[in-house]
């Protein structure tokens, strides 16, 4: 009797212990029973890893049948009778492959991550909403012509996403929702707007005024003008120059001045440096180039593009091919959440983009009626009401976490900086129709037509490169460049109390940096200053990224008068570095060539280390192959050089500079061996010169390398051991990420690899514009967001090796080789 009672008690307790965590979420753990269930639980994802071989699906809203063939790369080829049908099915397909990513990225743009992830995302949401991204997207949708192709496409796309969500079975719920204990939300057309707003933030967040304020606050305005220059000290422009290129424009930097007190009050407190070696900024960029038929071995125009963005799993891109007979036949990549093919090709032309980085954001120092809770701002002597937007932040259960009031002047959102209030006008927030353009551009047949469509492009500024089968190659740095009053500069903070500070218009398209079929037979852009200021002095921006990648690609193309598709592919992962070519000689010369400035002033220990380091550096071929064993010494030396040179930019009480000038500015300074900037103020008993700093940097780099990686003959110095690409899952889950990948590349190589390795070539494409357009491409990830699928990360191996896949481009379903077809879906109009 007692034994039976004991058994009953133990069984009851065990049952409760097993059932409770299956119905009540404990901490971060998923619900155990539903999670482990072999039919409906996480294991069901294995059964959904591959699409069924043949499927017939009803979809409401379709006007006709849509055939979809999925090839062995996981790419859907959708054949539809109308564009709306095609985009409706695209929405369904993207939802099937990337449902969680769709929600996460659009919530990031909307500022509602807390509703998915909880209070941990509150600060990120606050930042997004204070930037006005959601406000802008909602305003844009409300003003959109409902008959336009863009509006109809985003509505159709939303219907497709919702058709998938409505039919979603528990067994198909993506892993991330299971881990978080959530269900997907239904899709609204405005979410595509949130996505573009977020992309605008990624590509146009850098405001040179912020950098200049940070520097002015420490060393005054004159020095800031030199350290955050309007014009790059090295000119290798996108628009071929009428002068010799590249052209050095090195000047003597003015000495550090007295801090600018106003700048000190309003300068952002956030550091402007994101990694120890400052390489993040140099890895966040893109390349594109095109070769005219006259310089291509087979006589056809060639185009290459590789946008460098954050590397994530799933990838930021989704590859697709859409055919609407007589209207559209386009392949390439879309952003999950938006229907258009952003980068790709059709039967006649190919196009791609790099970020121009134009200055499209301005700050205004506002006068408000109440420094704590302002409700009005002063404009031309009159108090004007601020527009208020109440922002509520909720958790996944709908409970209110926090509220905020975001204020807007007629220019844009108003934020507090210390005791001051600053408003921002930003083209990313202006009403625009990027979605519309990305849907109309693929319909064009010639480069001329493509350029014509892209005239209306607003933000963020992009170097749109196009090549067609007629042999035309062209590039234009498109987007709105504001026209400012006075000297026209946008890298300064302006007085907000007068309309006289406002933009007076935008640059006409004819004034954009532009080139079409130039005599040199090639075009290239890599985020460098787009036009030589001696050719066009209009203010387009400041603080341009150094042109190392542009120098390298132009050098490669200049030396190759018979470019092949294979060469285009090889160039995309070329290991050479113009930055290394520019700097290595200075280090070697400082150590190896005796001179007056260093004579008798070198510390014996440092000198011994520097001599050894110089001998090691001399062995370097200046390449960043995975097996290279000297690149790390150079990178450490460059980091030391930055650290020892820019001590004036370290705010009092801090250890790191708020801003590190670009390596092009550093090179400019290297040409002035006795500049006062070389003196390290932290060594009060000595006045350093350039060569002493170079020697000390090299010696210290060797010390660091020896301490971290051991002796140079060992494997510790191997580049792929110290710098790797790291592709994180969108939620940062290590188990779903691919980390420590050996790749070719370093800071400023054509395939850049920054400090943390989390940015890089997000899509590589080479297109040959022959009688039949042929394309090769890949991206670091896979088409499926399902970690059980072989197509979750199947492209990463090829990507790390610089390989590209041939892109299948069938005109009709029957053109797709049967052995390359993995699934066939027929979407039929349903109830």
């Amino acid at each position: 009797m007692r034994r039976r009672a004991l058994l009953g008690t133990v069984a009851a307790l065990a049952l409760a212990a097993l059932v409770a965590p299956s119905v009540i979420r404990i901490g971060q753990l998923p619900l155990v029973g539903p999670f482990l269930d072999p039919v409906q639980g996480v294991w069901a994802l294995a059964a959904g890893a591959e699409p069924p071989g043949r499927e017939r699906l009803d979809m409401s809203g379709l006007s006709g049948v849509v055939e979809v063939l999925v090839d062995d790369r996981g790419v859907p080829h959708a054949f539809a009778a109308t564009e709306e049908d095609a985009y409706r099915v695209m929405g369904w397909l993207v939802a099937r492959d990337r449902l969680f990513q769709l929600e996460l990225t659009t919530r990031a743009g909307q500022g509602t991550l807390t509703e998915l992830l909880g209070s941990a995302a509150l600060e990120a949401d606050r930042e997004t909403r204070h930037l006005g991204l959601a406000w802008s997207a909602e305003r844009e949708l409300a003003g959109w012509d409902t008959a336009s192709v863009g509006y109809r496409a985003v509505v159709a796309y939303a219907q497709g996403v919702n058709a998938y969500i409505d039919g979603l079975r528990t067994r198909d719920l993506p892993l991330e929702y299971r881990l978080l204990g959530r269900r997907p939300r239904r899709w609204h057309p405005v979410y595509s707007g949130y996505l573009f707003a977020r992309m605008g933030l990624t590509l146009a967040a850098n405001d040179p005024a912020e950098s200049r304020l940070a520097v002015s606050a420490l060393v005054g305005a004159e020095a800031a003008d030199a350290l955050v220059p309007v014009n790059s000290p090295i000119q290798e422009p996108i628009q071929p120059s009428s002068r010799e290129a590249p052209r050095d424009d090195f000047r003597r930097l003015p000495p550090p001045g007295a801090p600018d007190t106003v700048a000190a009050e309003v300068a952002s407190r956030e550091p402007r440096v994101e990694s120890d070696d400052g390489s993040h900024a140099e890895a966040l960029g893109s390349n594109n180039w095109a070769v005219a038929p006259g310089r291509a071995k087979d006589g056809h125009a060639l185009l290459a593009g590789d946008p460098h963005l954050e590397l994530t799993l799933p990838s930021i891109w989704y590859e697709a091919h859409v055919v609407v007979p007589g209207r559209l036949d386009v392949a390439g990549v879309s952003l999950p959440g938006s229907p258009g093919i952003v980068i790709g090709f059709n039967r006649d032309l190919a196009w791609t983009f790099t970020n121009t980085g134009g200055d499209v954001s301005d700050l205004y120092l506002e006068t408000v009626d109440d420094s704590e809770v302002p409700s009005r701002y002063l404009l031309d002597g009159e108090w004007r009401p601020l527009a208020l937007r109440l922002e509520e932040y909720r958790d996944p259960d709908g409970r209110l976490l926090a509220t905020d009031t975001v204020r807007f002047t007629h220019r844009g959102p108003l934020t507090r900086r210390g005791e001051r209030w600053v408003s921002r006008r930003w083209t990313v927030l202006e009403p625009s129709r990027e979605s519309d353009l990305f849907l109309r551009a693929p319909r064009t047949r010639t480069a001329e037509q493509w350029l014509d469509v892209m005239r209306d492009y607003v933000a963020p500024t992009q170097n749109g490169l196009v090549a067609d089968r007629l042999g035309t190659i062209a590039i234009r740095a498109s987007g709105w460049y504001p026209i400012r009053p006075g000297d026209g500069r946008g890298d300064v903070i302006r007085d907000g109390s007068t309309r006289g500070s406002d933009w007076t218009g935008v640059l006409p398209v004819e004034k954009y940096p532009f080139a079409k079929s130039p005599a040199q037979g090639r075009l290239a852009s890599a985020n460098q200053q787009p036009v030589d200021p001696l050719d066009n002095p209009a203010y387009l921006g400041a603080d341009w990224p150094p042109p190392w990648r542009a120098l390298r690609i132009n050098a490669l193309l200049r030396a190759d008068s018979a470019v092949t598709v294979g060469a285009m592919r090889r160039y995309q992962t070329d290991p050479g570095s113009a930055r290394a070519d520019a700097f290595v000689g200075f280090f070697l010369e400082a150590v190896e060539v005796p001179n007056r400035e260093t004579e008798g002033r070198k510390d014996g220990k440092t000198e011994t280390g520097a001599v050894r380091a110089a001998a090691l550096l001399r062995e370097w071929d200046r390449k960043y192959d995975p097996e290279n064993r000297r690149a790390i010494l150079f990178e450490l030396a460059m980091a030391e050089l930055d650290r020892r040179t820019w001590d004036e930019l370290i705010p009092p009480g801090k250890e790191r500079p708020r801003y590190v000038p670009s390596s092009a500015t550093l090179l400019e300074l290297l040409h002035d061996s006795t500049s006062i900037w070389w003196d390290d103020r932290r060594t009060s008993d000595a006045v350093e010169t350039r060569d002493l700093i170079l020697i000390a940097s090299l010696g210290a780099a060797l010390d660091t390398a020896l301490a971290r990686y051991g002796d140079p003959p060992g494997d510790g110095w191997t580049w792929s051991r110290v710098r790797t690409a790291n592709i994180h899952h969108v939620l940062g889950l290590p188990g779903l990420s691919r980390l420590r990948l050996a790749v070719t590349g370093g800071p400023s190589t054509l395939s850049p690899l920054g400090g943390r390795g989390t940015f890089g070539a997000s899509w590589r494409m080479v297109v040959e514009l022959g009688p039949e357009v042929r394309a090769w491409a890949t991206y670091p990830g896979g088409q499926s967001g399902n970690p059980a699928s072989p197509r979750y990360d199947d492209r990463i191996r090829g990507w790390t090796r610089g390989n590209l896949d041939r892109v299948l481009f069938p005109r009709i379903p029957a053109d797709l080789p049967p052995d390359r077809v993995r699934a066939r879906m027929t979407f039929v109009p349903g109830a």
Partner: protein, 101 residues
């Protein structure tokens, strides 16, 4: 148990185990547990998902921060424990009821 899970999900395991224990068959709880564990192991072997199961299990184990072997064992073990506890509880209750009768 497999059929129940297929139709109703994880909670059918304790429900069926309890019914089984209460039925005239009166299997021992350990037998019921074994059957449930086997049923879930069998369901995991879904031919459509089987080729991808290893990849998925490896990634899920990494996400949860547990060894792969533990995760794989956890599935039949969880079903077995659920079934055992439900069956044992019913068996104990039946004994008490019979004695009172």
């Amino acid at each position: 148990v497999a059929g129940g899970t297929l139709v109703g999900g994880w909670w059918m395991v304790p429900a069926i185990a309890a019914l089984w224990a209460a039925s005239p068959v009166r299997s021992r709880p350990a037998v019921v547990a074994g059957a449930a564990g086997l049923a879930w192991a069998f369901l995991l072997m879904n031919p459509r998902g089987l080729p991808h199961l290893g990849r998925l299990a490896g990634r899920v184990a990494a996400v949860l921060g547990i060894p792969l072997s533990v995760l794989v064992l956890l599935v039949p073990l969880y079903a077995a424990l659920l079934a055992w506890s439900a069956a044992a509880l019913v068996t104990a209750m039946q004994g008490t009821t019979r004695r009172r009768a």
